[in-house]
């Protein structure tokens, strides 16, 4: 297999002090590598070393056949382009001027643009959809537009590799999606190799061919998104101790309410999530059940309830489970039902609802109260 970008035993750090050691990675042309990890874990340090902004302390990087260390400045700038959110200064520059600076490695002694350069600039602006703002001052455009201008600038450099440091961090959801879509298109159409850091795990999972997890001392994991997003891993990587992150469903919840529950919630099919979160906000602990593991309510129930009675997917609910749920109901004062109608497959929930009535618990039908 032919690799395009190969990093061997790279050690990065500041002022001779190693921060992250022995980084190995290989990328084929047209692949997207994403760096994830907590703040200050060294994602930017790795990116800076790869772009030669920072001297790497050890190891070698090959791009194609060439060693990164031995490339001349202008050769490097024709091979690799960067998009950094911070650190670009412009004065009296229109968006078009900023994009045009991408042609720098190709212009002559005085940096004057040729007709060919101008053509590339306007084509690239077309490509990332910023032609409309070409004459606007770069400092007066929105964050989303700014990132696209910087991307266009990088693309003008006609690089084979593009390195982006948290390109989506300041963007709203619409621009995040738009920005990453452009990257994906470039990867497909131009066989562009992309290396970037992202904070949005769900987006990283969607777009990346490979993911590198950095935790501040070493590369913790490196592989395909499927290999990375395994149960419990994100919680460990980010040292999450308050709150909850579910890799499988990408569900993120705040910390559950503490205390002894006085409420039992009958949920299922996604009908209970809203109420679970409402109770979490109020700081009220609760039990819930009976929920199958493939139910939409399941990840939220698992994250927020004091105890959730759960059953395996596609298996009948055992009497034992029903019994367990009844015990929980006994310890409560209130039972809330989120189900509008009990389906034929959830007779167990109907049983629980009826049981609550027979033992004299206060029954509240959530659907009724919603009117």
């Amino acid at each position: 297999m032919k690799y395009f970008l190969k990093v061997e035993k790279m050690t990065v750090g500041y002022e001779g002090k190693p921060l992250i050691q022995d980084i190995d990675l290989t990328l084929r042309q047209g692949e997207i590598l994403t760096l994830i990890g907590p703040n200050g874990a060294g994602k930017s340090t790795i990116l800076k070393s790869l772009t030669r902004q920072l001297k790497m302390l050890c190891g070698t990087v090959y791009i194609g056949e060439e060693s990164l260390k031995e490339m001349s400045g202008s050769r490097l700038s024709q091979t690799m382009a960067v998009v950094l959110t911070k650190g670009i200064r412009t004065e009296l520059m229109t968006c078009e001027d900023v994009v045009a600076t991408g042609r720098y490695p190709y212009t002559g002694r005085f940096g004057l643009l040729s007709t060919q350069d101008r053509k590339i600039v306007s084509e690239t602006m077309e490509l990332v959809n910023i032609t409309a703002i070409r004459d606007q001052d770069f400092t007066r455009i929105s964050d989303g537009q700014r990132q696209r201008v910087l991307l266009a600038r990088a693309l003008c450099q006609k690089p084979q590799v593009i390195v982006l440091d948290e390109p989506t961090s300041y963007l709203d959801i619409r621009y995040k999606l738009e920005f990453l879509s452009i990257l994906q298109r470039m990867k497909r159409e131009r066989n562009l190799t992309v290396i970037m850091s992202l904070h949005e795990l769900e987006l990283a999972e969607r777009i990346s061919d490979q993911i590198l997890c950095v935790n501040g001392r070493y590369v913790d994991r490196y592989g395909s998104p499927d290999e990375i997003f395994q149960e419990g891993y994100i919680k460990q990587l980010f040292s999450i101790d308050t709150g909850y992150y579910d890799e499988e469903n990408e569900d993120i919840e705040l910390e559950k309410a503490q205390g002894t529950p006085r409420v039992f919630i009958i949920a299922g099919g996604g009908s209970g999530r809203g109420l679970f979160r409402h109770y979490q906000r109020q700081g009220i602990p609760f039990y819930t059940g009976i929920i199958a593991e493939n139910d939409l309510d399941y990840p939220v129930a698992k994250a927020l309830s004091a105890k959730a009675v759960c059953t395996q997917s596609f298996e009948p609910v055992s009497d034992e489970m029903v019994h367990l749920a009844k015990e929980l109901i006994d310890s409560c004062e209130q039972v809330i039902c989120c189900r509008k109608d009990f389906g034929t497959g959830e007779s167990y929930n109907r049983k629980l609802w009826e049981y609550a009535g027979s033992v004299g618990k206060q029954r509240i039908n959530e659907m009724d109260s919603k009117g």
Partner: protein, 339 residues
């Protein structure tokens, strides 16, 4: 857009070059002895004429000096502003002029004490040493303080220290030297000879050409270091070049005219405003010509306003330059609050 810009650049340079020409003629013709333009041309051809001597030996060298040194000063300011990414940097506020002045004063007093005549080359070298000395201090400070205003404050402090030392030297110098030194240390174009003009022109023009050839990497540098690096610019080499070139220019000015305030800050901003662009390839010539016009204008006022008493050139440049600096700061503050 492109057309409109080109027209603007063309207009700006037309104004600047015409300004240089007009003010050069005015500076030569206006003075205690008034000379009409027809006289001026007639007088030039007759070397024995008395007015001809005034023009040739006094006004012409002085006018050329004001033009060349003004240009050098504005360009030095522009380089320093680019270097520090600081809009109010300049050789005067950063204490570089004062440093140069101090070393020149020391050398002058020392050599005069030994009855040695100071050559222009020696003056430039001494000024360059002083400029680099102050620059070294400012660079050290810039590593420790990140804010723009703190950098300027430390520059001003260095300037005060150097000025104090200079004052001390001047106070204890031989009486005969004082007049000479005193005039010079306040900043003035008076007493420029053709020899001076030759040396300063060669030094300045060579330096300006070198800077002009750096306009491409300077453009990249303006975007910020990370971007410049990615664009293949050798940042270290460029920074060293900027320090040396701006020090040479500052040294040249101080050696021949003493410290002149505000031109270095005000002119680049005025030029930028005229061009509506910060591109080095335009700004470098614009600053040079703009600085020339500005200093010609100020020197004309300095000479004529209270004639026969001559004002120091800094008095005039401050009156016109300081408001520009205030305007720049207010505008930047506004932008910061808006953005």
């Amino acid at each position: 857009m492109e057309q409109r810009r080109k027209r603007r650049y063309f207009a700006a340079f037309t104004v600047l070059i015409t300004g240089v020409a007009v003010f050069m003629i005015l500076n030569i013709c206006i003075g205690t002895v008034r000379i009409s333009i027809t006289d001026f041309l007639a007088v030039l051809s007759d070397p024995t004429d008395k007015t001809g001597r005034i023009i040739r030996d006094i006004r012409m060298p002085r006018t050329i000096a004001a033009m060349v040194l003004g240009g050098a000063l504005a360009l030095a300011g522009y380089l320093l502003q680019t270097f520090f990414h600081n809009p109010i940097a300049g050789p005067f506020v950063l204490g570089i002029s004062s440093g140069a002045k101090m070393v020149v004063a020391l050398v002058m007093v020392f050599l005069m004490g030994h009855a040695v005549k100071v050559s222009s080359a020696a003056m430039i070298v001494a000024a360059f040493v002083g400029a680099m000395l102050s620059m070294g201090f400012v660079l050290l400070m810039s590593r420790r303080v990140s804010s723009m205003s703190m950098l300027v404050v430390s520059g001003v402090m260095i300037g005060y220290i150097c000025s104090a030392v200079t004052e001390l030297v001047v106070t204890f110098a031989e009486d005969a030297d004082i007049v000479n030194l005193h005039n010079w240390s306040r900043g003035s174009f008076s007493g420029t000879t053709w020899d001076h003009v030759l040396v300063m022109s060669v030094v300045t023009l060579v330096t300006v050409c070198v800077i002009f050839f750096l306009s491409k990497p300077l453009e990249a540098y303006q975007l910020g270091e990370s971007y410049a690096k990615n664009m293949g610019v050798n940042i270290k080499a460029l920074r060293v070049a900027m320090v040396i070139l701006s020090s040479i220019l500052s040294a040249c000015i101080v050696a021949f005219a003493g410290p002149i305030s505000f031109v270095g800050i005000a002119v680049p901003h005025l030029a930028k405003g005229m061009l509506k662009s910060a591109k080095p390839i335009l700004m470098i010539p614009a600053c040079f010509f703009g600085g020339g016009v500005f200093c010609l204008f100020c020197d004309l006022l300095a000479r004529t306003l209270f004639a026969p008493t001559e004002l120091s050139i800094s008095t005039v440049t401050a009156v016109f330059g300081a408001p520009v600096v205030l305007w720049v700061m207010i505008r930047r503050n506004k932008e910061k609050n808006a953005g």
